[in-house]
């Protein structure tokens, strides 16, 4: 009898963490791409007009469409590469979360204007 109480066996992982890491990191990269594209479209008139895919919405349509495409492309590539692998998820998660938080901050106009 374990004096600390009953031992609950942890279930064994059957899937490698690679596909999950690919999903997490690509979400971070996609979010960061969105914030960078928003800043670039704001600063450069040529890019701004280039990103106006749908005129009534203006450059926001291009910024979001390109960011979503970047996110999905990175996800697809990473998923293929990491499908059967176990990766350093702590590092990947930290990088992804840092990119996400940075995106949140960089979309804040007063901060974006400082760049």
């Amino acid at each position: 009898m374990n004096p600390g109480g009953p031992v609950i066996p942890r279930p064994q992982a059957t899937l490698p963490n690679g596909p999950g890491a690919a999903a997490v990191l690509s979400a971070g990269i996609g979010s960061f791409a969105l914030s960078i594209l928003a800043i670039v479209a704001d600063k450069l008139p040529a890019i701004k007009s280039l990103l106006a895919f749908y005129k009534p919405t203006g450059p926001l349509s291009g910024v979001t469409t390109v960011a979503v495409l970047v996110w999905l492309a990175v996800w697809l590539i990473l998923d293929r590469r990491w499908r059967a692998r176990t990766v350093a998820l702590g590092l990947v998660s930290a990088a992804a979360l840092a990119l996400l938080v940075l995106s949140l901050l960089l979309t804040f106009p007063p901060l974006a204007d400082l760049l």
């Binding site: 609950i8 942890r10 279930p11 064994q12 992982a13 059957t14 899937l15 963490n17 596909p19 999950g20 890491a21 999903a23 997490v24 690509s26 979400a27 996609g30 979010s31 969105l34 914030s35 928003a38 749908y54 009534p56 919405t57 203006g58 926001l60 349509s61 910024v63 979001t64 960011a67 979503v68 996110w71 998820l89 702590g90 998660s93 992804a96 979360l97 996400l100 938080v101 995106s103 949140l104 979309t107 804040f108 106009p109 007063p110």
Partner: protein, 190 residues
């Protein structure tokens, strides 16, 4: 009692899809913690698993519906340019806000932040739903992955909260109105 079609669609965007997403957030956090928490004592049956997957997919769909209706339906009405000589800017919310120094920051900070930050939510919500579908109960064996999903879900909530707050404030200062008038009831003449 009446409202316009643009007002109704703005209501659907904010109160229908957006607010429903925000309401669903707390349930998702509780369920993710309860099922895959470190104690690992919650019994998770196939029905529970299926429910969580449907719940997270529904949240992701709500997030997408919110940003898509916001970007492609409401935003064009918001940023519409008035014809030359128009003095009444009631049908042109962005110009109405910019015409007054006391309200211009609602556009330059509020809308400028909202229109971009809101898009972080569907990306994070889709990732959370995809990981949940892929791993299912196996997520309990991946504590770092679980933590990453939880963190992304929380930041997605924060982003949705910012977009929702500014959406409500913008609607208060310069509501998107116009289109056909829908009359629900006729008031009694006094």
């Amino acid at each position: 009692m009446e409202f316009t079609t643009r007002g109704l669609l703005t209501l659907l965007h904010g109160m229908g899809f957006g607010a429903l997403y925000l309401l669903a957030f707390s349930g998702a956090i509780v369920e993710l913690r309860r099922r895959y928490g470190n104690r690992g004592q919650a019994s998770v049956g196939p029905d529970d698993e299926k429910f969580l997957k449907i719940y997270l997919v529904t949240m992701a769909v709500l997030a997408w519906l919110t940003v898509l209706t916001g970007t492609y339906l409401i935003y064009p009405w918001y940023r519409a340019v008035p014809p030359v000589g128009v003095a009444n800017l009631a049908g042109f919310p962005q110009r109405l806000l910019q015409s007054n120094p006391a309200t211009s920051a609602w556009h330059s900070i509020g809308m400028e932040w909202k229109e971009h930050v809101g898009w972080l939510t569907p990306i994070a919500a889709t990732m959370a739903a995809a990981v949940s579908i892929k791993y299912g109960r196996d997520l309990r064996s991946h504590p770092q992955l679980r933590s990453a999903v939880l963190c992304f879900t929380v930041v997605a909530f924060l982003a949705a909260g910012i977009a929702g707050f500014f959406g409500a404030m913008l609607d208060q200062h310069a509501p998107v109105e116009g289109g056909a008038v829908i009359r629900l009831s006729q008031g009694e003449p006094r």
